[in-house]
């Protein structure tokens, strides 16, 4: 009982301390969760390319980036949504729906560019449905997006049935998988970089972005501080729908196919990567450089393990374990941190008592 009451009402300290700003700038930047992920990415990348033969070839890098692209794309809006303490589980279904829409319209004789545009519009619409249900109707986003996860996927499967559309124009399929010279960097990375910069600007350098953090910390305080909570959330879900649809179009051209069950389960990988990148599931905490490093870390690890003939099931175990470890470790360290000073305090408080 005493334990819980002290944690609820901490004794007011005499001198105010600002632990965060009291440390120098380089420390604040380097000793962070995000930077730990970046370091882990560098260690894995360097370790893999030195110890595995041919891993450091441009071909490997090219495929790694091509595979990571949809996750990199969707992770951007997902980060913002998680920071605002919401969640979007329907992203993979929007990818599938955009993939199927593009395929079905192309199959019906539409020009492929127009079909892609329609898929993007549909993605915005899907995001708007999520956003409306969360903001206007006031439903929890977890329940809403579990529902739309099934709904959007169901529509995608319903449209094409067991059919699949192939034979997309070669111009687009080769453009999507093309690589800059011998560098191993695919063209599509340009798109990823542009979007990533846009999202970094939006999240970290605009009032809108600070509003997202404020909402994640405390929605009511944010509302009283003048943040338009509902509008912000709505925009985030629309952005998520738009980027997911874009990833769906990429998916279509990358694999040259449209099927109802494409990209099933992708939402799990995206959320795992974002959380691994240091975004808190409770909201209010996270940074995009950590998330991008998290996505690439998972991608590099998968690629490296595949190189040494580790099968996909073991890779799944590793990804799952990473996710659990990344979420459990902060509480573990906090527990450890609390344990050591408390033990010291107890010793200190006991000593005079025994003397007296």
């Amino acid at each position: 009982m005493t334990d819980s009451s002290t944690s609820l009402h901490p004794a007011p300290s005499r001198s105010r301390a600002y632990p965060y700003y009291s440390s120098p700038a380089w420390k604040r930047f380097l000793l962070t969760r995000e930077f730990a992920v970046v370091i882990a990415l560098i260690i894995v990348a360097v370790g893999a390319s030195t110890s595995i033969r041919k891993f450091s070839s441009p071909l490997t890098l090219g495929y790694l980036l091509l595979d990571a692209t949809p996750i990199l794309l969707i992770a951007l809006p997902m980060t913002l949504i998680l920071i605002s303490a919401e969640i979007d589980l329907s992203v993979a279904s929007i990818v599938g729906l955009s993939n199927v829409t593009l395929g079905a319209l192309f199959d019906a004789g539409w020009p492929v560019e127009l079909a892609a545009l329609a898929a993007l519009v549909l993605g915005i619409l899907c995001g708007a449905i999520n956003g409306l249900l969360v903001t206007v109707v006031g439903l929890p986003s977890l329940a809403v997006t579990i529902g739309t996860l099934a709904l959007f996927r169901g529509i995608a499967v319903g449209i094409l049935g067991t059919k699949s559309v192939v034979n997309f124009p070669e111009y687009w399929t080769t453009l999507t998988t093309s690589i800059f010279g011998k560098s191993g960097i695919p063209y599509v990375i340009v798109l990823v970089v542009i979007l990533a910069l846009a999202f970094v600007l939006l999240l970290h350098f605009t009032p809108f972005g600070r509003g997202i953090f404020a909402i994640g910390r405390n929605q009511e305080v944010a509302a009283f501080s003048g943040v338009k909570v509902q509008r912000t959330k709505f925009i985030l879900f629309v952005l998520s729908g738009l980027v997911s649809a874009l990833a769906g179009i990429y998916f279509t051209f990358r694999y040259g196919s449209a099927r109802g069950d494409n990209a099933q389960g992708l939402e799990l990988t995206v959320i795992a990567a974002v959380l691994l990148g240091g975004v808190s599931i409770f909201g209010g905490k996270g940074a995009l450089h950590g998330v991008l490093a998290g996505v690439l870390l998972i991608g590099t690890l998968q690629s490296a393990l595949r190189f040494v003939n580790v099968t996909s099931d073991v890779i799944n175990i590793v990804v799952g374990a990473l996710l659990v470890a990344s979420i459990v470790s902060p509480s573990f360290f906090a527990w450890l941190k609390g344990k050591i000073p408390r033990a010291a305090r107890e010793r200190a408080s006991k000593a005079p008592a025994s003397r007296g």
Partner: protein, 344 residues
């Protein structure tokens, strides 16, 4: 305050009727009956024939177990996304036991499946309750891990019907008094868990934890222990479902049970379990599972291609949570009104 609560003035019969009309379960039962009637009118074999009647009870049995387990976890304001992988692992364990130990008694296989499920649930619960991290993330992780272990274990040796004793497979489709055994098992579990959740202290504490975790802690409830127990129970029920899956379908490959977590969450939500815990009943979740699976089977007969089935499930989930919200708002306004009237 007397204006707020005055149930004693009504006579018991009126109160019972009012409860029946207002209860969430009645709504789902009505929806289920509607589906049954409409489909049976369109094609009588759906209900009247022996096969139709048997499938009506047999198909949902496994999902009723999953929905009950999921409901217990969601009531504590948690969620278990790993159930699909747990079904896969326990179903494969069952088959593997029969291959490795020919002549193994069936009850031993069932107990082994339940025990493995409970163990996997214990891992989930211990991580969540001890590290105080969200169930969504932990069970997302264990969804990967358990499925990875399953795929690795199955390798290139899936279990076929010929690997399992005929008695066991017969048990999967057997009936007692024309009622499928699996449905009887599911019903027994439903009665036991329903009784536990409704009347015992442990069950009520699960509701208390779900409605307000910090209040439950301050009140002195042992939140961590109860949450772990809920996850163990969910795991055990999922393990039982895995064993029944093996008995019912006879083949277990590495993808067995994939996506079942979505169906179990959907069944619970459609059945009136609030996603943020503290309300709903396992009976509702069980009826929710029956409703989903019945719709599933009814769609082709109603002329809707079964590809659209998942879209219907999604629409149902959204409809159910929107309905919950409307009812909650109405209750809230009514309480405010009563309070304002009392103050005047």
């Amino acid at each position: 305050m007397t204006t707020l609560i005055s149930p004693a003035r009504k006579n018991p019969a009126a109160r019972a009727i009012e409860t029946l009309v207002k209860s969430r379960e009645t709504g789902i039962v009505l929806a289920l009956l509607m589906v049954l009637v409409v489909t049976t009118v369109r094609s009588p074999a759906f209900l009247v024939s022996t096969d139709g009647f048997r499938d009506l009870l047999l198909t949902p049995a496994i999902f009723v177990l999953l929905a009950i387990g999921q409901a217990m976890v969601i009531i504590t304001r948690n969620i278990d996304l790993s159930v699909g992988s747990v079904v896969g692992l326990t179903a494969y364990l069952t088959g593997r036991l029969f291959v490795d130990f020919p002549g193994l008694p069936i009850p031993v296989a069932i107990i082994a499946g339940i025990a493995l499920g409970a163990l996997l649930g214990l891992i989930n619960g211990a991580l969540i309750a001890c590290a105080k991290v969200p169930a969504l993330v932990v069970t997302l992780g264990t969804l990967y891990i358990y499925r990875g272990v399953d795929v690795w274990w199955v390798g290139r040796k899936p279990i076929n019907a010929s690997d399992m004793p005929r008695d066991f497979l017969g048990f999967g489709v057997s009936s007692f008094l024309n009622i499928p055994t699996l449905a009887i098992i599911a019903a027994l579990v439903l009665v036991a868990v329903g009784w536990y959740m409704r009347t015992t202290r442990g069950g009520r504490e699960l509701y208390a934890i779900g409605s307000d975790p910090s209040a439950a802690t301050l009140y002195g409830l042992r939140v961590a222990k109860r949450v772990i127990l809920a996850f163990v129970a969910c795991g055990a029920l999922t393990g039982l479902a895995g064993v029944l899956f093996a008995a019912r379908y006879g083949t277990v490959d590495s993808q067995a049970g994939t996506g079942f977590e979505l169906i179990s969450v959907a069944a619970a939500v459609v059945g009136g379990i609030a996603i943020f815990g503290g309300s709903g009943s396992v009976l509702g979740a069980a009826i929710g599972a029956v409703l989903l699976l019945t719709i599933n089977r009814a769609l082709p007969l109603l002329g809707v291609q079964d590809f659209w089935q998942q879209a219907v499930v999604g629409a149902l989930i959204l409809g159910a949570i929107a309905l919950d919200r409307v009812l909650a708002l109405r209750r809230f306004h009514k309480l405010i009104e009563i309070r304002d009237n009392a103050n005047d």
